[in-house]
Structures are given as C-alpha cells and as structure tokens.
Symmetry: D2
Amino acid sequence: MVTPLLDRDNLDVAGLERLIEHILAGGVHGLFILGTTGEAPSLSYRLRNELIQRVCALVKGRIPVLVGITDTSFVESINISHKAEDAGAQAIVLAPPYYFPAGQSELLEYLDHLTRELPLPLFLYNMPSYTKLVFEPETIRAAAEYPGIVGIKDSSGNMVYFRRLQSLLKDHPDFSLLMGREELLAEVILLGGHGGICGGANLIPELYVELYNAACSKDLQKVEELHKKVMEFNAAVYHVGRYESSLLKGLKCALSCVGICSDFLAEPFHRFRRAEHEVIELYVKELGINPKK
Amino acid sequence: MVTPLLDRDNLDVAGLERLIEHILAGGVHGLFILGTTGEAPSLSYRLRNELIQRVCALVKGRIPVLVGITDTSFVESINISHKAEDAGAQAIVLAPPYYFPAGQSELLEYLDHLTRELPLPLFLYNMPSYTKLVFEPETIRAAAEYPGIVGIKDSSGNMVYFRRLQSLLKDHPDFSLLMGREELLAEVILLGGHGGICGGANLIPELYVELYNAACSKDLQKVEELHKKVMEFNAAVYHVGRYESSLLKGLKCALSCVGICSDFLAEPFHRFRRAEHEVIELYVKELGINPKK
Amino acid sequence: MVTPLLDRDNLDVAGLERLIEHILAGGVHGLFILGTTGEAPSLSYRLRNELIQRVCALVKGRIPVLVGITDTSFVESINISHKAEDAGAQAIVLAPPYYFPAGQSELLEYLDHLTRELPLPLFLYNMPSYTKLVFEPETIRAAAEYPGIVGIKDSSGNMVYFRRLQSLLKDHPDFSLLMGREELLAEVILLGGHGGICGGANLIPELYVELYNAACSKDLQKVEELHKKVMEFNAAVYHVGRYESSLLKGLKCALSCVGICSDFLAEPFHRFRRAEHEVIELYVKELGINPKK
Amino acid sequence: MVTPLLDRDNLDVAGLERLIEHILAGGVHGLFILGTTGEAPSLSYRLRNELIQRVCALVKGRIPVLVGITDTSFVESINISHKAEDAGAQAIVLAPPYYFPAGQSELLEYLDHLTRELPLPLFLYNMPSYTKLVFEPETIRAAAEYPGIVGIKDSSGNMVYFRRLQSLLKDHPDFSLLMGREELLAEVILLGGHGGICGGANLIPELYVELYNAACSKDLQKVEELHKKVMEFNAAVYHVGRYESSLLKGLKCALSCVGICSDFLAEPFHRFRRAEHEVIELYVKELGINPKK
C-alpha cells in the first residue's frame, strides 16, 4: 500500500480511509504497509506509528495487515514490530539492513538475534536494487529453520533467484514464497509460488485478485488475458518520466487522478509535475475507476 | 569517533569519557560523531540523542563537535539536527539518503529543502560504497551556493573525484574539502585540501595531527615518514578478517585492547572473535598507548 | 553448446562429434555455438573458425546453426559473421561490446552500422552479468525495426525485463523472444515467449524438448513435472563449488563423466578438481545417460 | 597513446607519424600503445598488429614501447605479445580478461600460466570501471613473485587501492607502481610512486614531463602550479558531452583541432559532433600547440 501524504510528515487521513476501502472492496487477501511502495524509509517514526495504528483500526481485522520493519538499526526494527503487535497487525516484513555491507553469515546471525526478539511472524523481503544487500538463497534456506520466519517476498525480478528458492525450500511447503513484482504474479502462481504483493492493487485490486484466482485454478486462457491487462497498466503508469522512481510517482499520480488520495511524495522524491501528470491522467480516465467517497 | 557500546542499545559511558579525553589529548581540531565509523545507522534514535548530549557535555566547547544526521527520512535528519543544536554542537554532516535511487536533480532539490530547515552549518558526506548514491561533483558545485552548506567530507577513496571537486570549487575557497580516508590525508593537504577526518585518530590521534601539521608546513620528509606510519597502522589494524567491515571491527578491537572502551558492535556486525582479536592485540601492544584512566 | 577442448587451443574433435550427435538425437530445433557456455570470449579466433566449420559440417543442415559473434571489436564481429555464412550457418547472435561503457544511443548506432554489414539474420543477446552493458528494452524496440534483426536471447534472469520486452514488442509477432536461462523456459513458453536456449541440453536435450512441447500444448501438469526435473538437474550440477563459473564447470564435468567430451576449460577457468568432480559424478551416474560412441 | 584512425579498420598513417614525433618531442620516457585510450578492444587484430609494427619502426628505439595485450582469450594475448616482441617493443601490459567473472585465485593461476608463455616483461593494469574485474592488492602482491611481472598501472582512481599496493609491496622496490590517471600524477610521485601514464600527454606531453620532474625533485611550488594546469586541461577537454567516453572523444577531438591526427573513433563510439567539437576547438586554440608537419 502507498502511504497517502498531505506533506512530508502528515498523513492524508481521508485519503487513507478511501484507499483502504477501495483496496478491500477489490477482494485482496492481505495488506502490506510500510514497504518500498509505502515509502517507509522516507517517513518519520512518528508517522510510521500513526500509520500502523490508523490502518489496523480501519481494517478492523477484515484481512491480515503486514507491517514493514526494515531498518538499518536493529533496535528500531524491534520498536516498530512492537507497535505493529500493539495495533493488532498479523505479521511483519523485513529486508536486510541497507547501510553496512554485511556478509551472509552476518546476515544470518542478525536474523537469529532478531527472531529471538520479534513478537510477530516474519516475512523476509528481497529487494536488492534498493538495499544492495541480498539474502542469498542459501541464507534464506538456513533462516527458514528459525522459529517465526514464515516466508519471503521477492521483489528482485530475478526469477532464477525465485526458482532457486523454490528448489531449496521444496521440503518446507509452509514457507510462503511471495512475488513482489506484479508483472510476474501469473507465472509464480502457475508454477508453485504462493502469492503476490502487487503495487497496482492500490488502484485496481480486483485485477490482481482475479489473476491470482485464475492462476490458482490453472485457467491458462484467463491468466493470459488478465496478465496482458497487468502489462498494459504497467506500461501506461510505471514508465513515465526518466527516473527509477517512476513506478512510485506514477502510482500515486494515478491514485490522485481518480480521487482516492493525494499524490504527495516524501523527499528525496516529488510528485509528477504537469507534463507527466497529464500522461497519467489521460490513461487513468479510461480505466473507469470510481472509488466510493 | 567510534561509538563505545556495552550492548546494542547502551553506551559504554566510562569508555566514552576515556575515549574523548584520549582523542582531545592528541590535539585534534574537531570531533565527528555518528558517522560510518560511529555506526550511526545501526543505532537507535534514543541512543544517538544520548550520545550527542554526552559528547557535547564532555567536550565542553574545547573543540567543535560535528554530528552525523544522515537518514533515509528527511524528517528524522531534521530531528537529529535540532538535538545537535540543543546540545551545543557546531555543525552537522549528511550523506545522501541511501534507500531510494534518487537522481542528481532530486538530490539537489532535497538539499535545497533541507538547508531551509537546518539550524547548523552542513558538511556534505560522500560515501558511495555504503550509500550507493553519489553527490556528483556538479551537484556539489551547485549545492555550494545554498546557504549553510560549508564543505564536504569525501570518503570514496576516489581521488579523481576529489581533484575534480577542487577544480570545480576553485572559486569557493571557503568551501572545506575534507578527506575521509586517512591513507590519503597527506596528499590531500599537500595539494590544496583543507583537512581530514581519520578513524585511526580514535587510537593514535597525535599521529594524524602531526601529519596534518607537517603537510601544512610542506615538510615533505616528515610527511613521508608519518604517512608511512599511517600505512603501517592501517595494514595492521584494518585488514584482519575477511569482510569489508574489518576496518570498524579492527579499530574497536584495538581500542578495547588498550583499555579505552568496549569493542561491542551493533548488528549487523559483531566484535572480532578470538583469532582476529589476538592478531590485533599483538600489534597494538607494540604501539605503547597508555590512555589516562 | 559447450566447446569441447583438449587444451586451450585445440578442439576435442571426437568429443565434438559425439556431443553434436547426442544433442541432435535429443530432438532440439537448433544449435547455438560460441555463446557464453561455449566459452567464446576465451577462445582464439583460429579455434572459433575451426569450430564453426566443423559444427556446420557435422550438422549437415539437419537443424539451423546459430553462431555467436559478440566481440569488443566491430571488425572482428563482422569477420566471424562471414566465416559463419561461408560455413553454412543460419543465423548469428550478438551481445553488446563489453569493454567500453557505451550509452544506449551509441549501442543503437552500433547496431545500425552492424546490420548494414552482416550477411546473416541477427539475434541480440542480453547477458548483463557478463557484458555489464544492457540492451535496454527501448533500445531493443528501436532495433527491431532494423532489417536483419530477428529476435533476442535474454539470459539476464530478470523476468521483469523479459515481460517488458514482450509488452513493447507486442506488435512485432515475428520478433523471437528466446529465454537463455533454462530455469525459466517453462514460464516463458506458457506466457507468450517463443523458445529457449538451454545449457543443460548439452547433456539431457530431450528433457528441454519435452518441456518446450508440453508448454506449447499448455499441458500444465506435464510442464510442472518436467520443470521440477530441470530444477533438480540445475541444483545438482550448477551449484557445486564457490565461484559464479560453477555452471560452466559443472556442465563440462558432467559431460565428461558420461563420456561425451573432455572437461577442459580455457583460461581464466579450469576444470573441477577431484572434490567437485566426485560430487558431479555421483549425481550424473543416476541420470543413466548413454551417448552413442 | 591514442590510435589515429581514418576509419574503423584503417590507420591514419600520416597522423600516427605526426603524433609520435609530437609526443617524443615533449620528452616522455616511454610510449604505451593499445591501452584503453588507444581503443585497443575496439580494433581488429590485423590493425593492432599493423600499429605495433609501425609504432616500433617510427620510434626506432628512442624510448621504450609498451604494448597492451589485454584480451578475453589467453591465446590471443600470447599472440599479440609475440607480435610486440618481433616488432621490437620493450614490455607488455595486461588487464584482467574482462568477460567471465573469474575469482582472485583463478586470476592468479591465469597470471601464472601467462607468465610462462610471455616473451617480454609484463605490467599489470588495473582498470575496474571497464574490465569490472579487479586484481586485488593481495593478488598483485602474490603475482609480484612471478618472473617477468615488473609493475602495475593503476587507472582505478582509487588512491586507497594504490596506497595499499605500495604498502604491500614495500619490500619490492623494483616493482613499478604507475598511475594511469593524470589528475593523480603529482601526488603519486610526491609520495613514493614511480611514474604515470597520462592520456593528456598525447597533446601536451611536456606538461606531464615537467610535472613528473618537479615532483621527483620535491619542488612543491612548481608541482602545485603544474598540477593546476593539468586540472584546467582536464576540465576543459575531458568533461564535454554526457557519456563516460567523453575523455577519449575530447582527446581525439583536441588532437584533430591542432592538426595532429584524425578524430575518428571506432565503434561503439563516434567522434564528437559539431556542438561538442566547437567547445573543444575554442579551448584548444588557446593552448597554442604547433605540431611539426
């Protein structure tokens, strides 16, 4: 889930409520907040805590809430995990600490220490283009033995990595293998993966739910048709402008165009300016999204 | 300055006092806390604030204190900068926000926003091996026009970058060009740089002060002799063990061997274990350091 | 196809013949020589030319032969392409020139110049982990308009890249999208890709042919079963030893264990030594491969 | 030395003669051909051989000629080394083979094999931004024991690497440590390095010779003055245009502006077009270079 912001340290509270109801109406099975698309690293701890509380209060247990606790500071990760527990979240999500270049054995020891302190089940999160540290497949395999580590979200886009994980974890059928890139949701579910966390579900959640269902029921024709729609959405909304951040900017811009929430982004980013905004607006209107207000 | 720790969230208060007195006795001209060698990204905000207050109280204005405020969150950087001001620090130091891959124009806008909020003069900090984002020379050149940005600490080791900065900033003689790698202190001062921030000065501060002075007075023979000592120290203490973190581990280990402070490191690192400890201990004894206790 | 070698500049001629017959007996639809798995960059031009002639003579037109012409030198790429044409090859394959950091517009101009000189249809080859230069999706899209460029082999493993290519080239149904990583053959064919180039087909070609056929006929159950076999083979043969080159070493070792060809590798690599060899041997025996001798 | 070209496979023979006489008139102590600035990887082997022969014939033993033999193919490196010996060159220069990701132990074994076959003394060449493989300091230290390896040219710009090399090789005073970045020539000679290989010496060789001499005689004031001139030249000629290749393009453009040789560049590059050409021309005219014609 994106984090609707009025400015760099204030939530768009009305937008947040509209966004949550819009997503839940689409039938998703869970809500992941404070991930990369949620701009977590750019937000103050105060705001992150406020978001956790508001989201859990708004969701009211209708679906599980997963909370990102990735941090360079071990202690701050633990602190957020307790806020998540207190607010009633169901699980937490953690990418490697992304400042110091830790070795794999150090990462494994880090996870060992962490799981001893965590109050909630943990999903690992592989996001090497942003964290630069990778949980190598063998590290994940070893960590899967630690109590409380229940799965991984892989956003690398590297399917060789994902298939290698599946192969190494074939004797751990309960370890959830989730895909963090919506372009790859279809193939992941078709060939043994367990789910996906899709940024586009902020805007058109029902598309991803239908695709997931079609893939689970091995309806290849429907999968192809819906996968094509995902790729069209992707091409239209995520590739405007010249920076790597175009995904995040395009998504918030589109949400703003349909009246769900503000398109403000925290530093180091800024919302799309007029030229890019017009490109997104043109496309989004055709989608015919009508969020309840 | 390293951050003396008893455990991941508690300062080694007695060690901190010994360390500060040891460093100041060596004649350094300033103290930089909460940088990379200070493990800032690994520490909780509570502990960072405590450290700022204790250090400023112990230094009592004898030399300027510079405080690292690098953070992925704009708001948290501002928060720490106010703690630094309140405690009586003289300046702050900032590397690029190190999660999202911001473009150079975005980084410049980020600095523009930031300098409008900062209560103290700002040194930029180039540390690409850890932040992965670089302040490109042209970005630094543009940022040098912003009020409150007074210099840069370059820890890249890339002297072509440093010489390019000098070249671009030749009309800004007041913009301080500081070297963050002690192996390069000598050549920086000899050829127009302004100073250095040297991790080894935690242990043998007088060596770096003498080298700085010799370079300032263009005493090439003395520079060569002292530079050689820096390189011997470097080879002995920073290259034990197999990970990139060997500098930090070796330095804290050496400080512990001579009785200055604890060698505890916050996650994702851990102190040297016996084998590496013995290598460091053997060398450090020969240095004959006797901190006042 | 691997390049069977007696030493760094001599082909294992008998092994080459056995290897080709073994692969063709498996029913493959084409043979790609002088790629990464063929160690092309490590071979002398003399040997590359000899290989092209021998392979085309042995294959005798039974299936198309594709020849790698990747080179940092434009002229040498053209030279090899003419050797390929003379020998009767059907197409050529080219990754970006991998020394100088060319920009995308420079790569496009390079392809423009190249296609004017090439005597055979060209497949582009994306292999960023080795060439470090990427043909960006937009560059491929533009190059698809050049006469003679007929497809791409993507070995990045990055499925977001592959799906983006498909999306950009949806109006070019004749442009072949081939997968260079065998772990991803199944999902590529299931969702609109056109084929695969699989290193493992040197040893067990019929597995990949069957998987391809099952995926073409949308037989999901069979696809899953065969994909699982591919992953088992992969885990057993490609992940022995500690270097990235373990794929190439494991594959040549396995081919040697079953008596197909020598396991010699050209510098900068060397064949597996005893410990790794025994691991591969143990596994390969169970496969029950009996090449005709 | 740049390689003067009429087109992608023909030397500018007249320009080559002018260039060599211009460089030698400047008093340089050696001539390095077929390096990165010489576009070696972009040239055909035929042209490389022609260049070696012509250069050695034109230099006529007045100064040593060093020949780059870097190649992904071991056999081709050996082949060029024999051409160099036959033509009368004095030494050869080799960067790591730059396609396959070899490990350090593999690189060391590669050097072991290579030195057994080489007919001339060998300088190693560190150029990680282009080869992506580094000869790590410990690898260089070990290779320094092999017969025939006499030094290293470091073009990384990473002075921590260079100082570490010096430190590791302090007991090998005969092992030459050469700087490949002209911006760092001054500091290398001042603090114990042995020489420099400077691209700018194609155009203004006497500047670099004077700087080298001033640094050898520890004349700090003169060093500062000449170093400043190097940086001005650098800023004016190497930073035009937007790609990393601006150094090579700017240098060839400047040589063309003063009538020394053609500015043609082999693919994947092209010469500067009008806009950049005019910027370079304006600057170069002020230099007042008059090559003998």
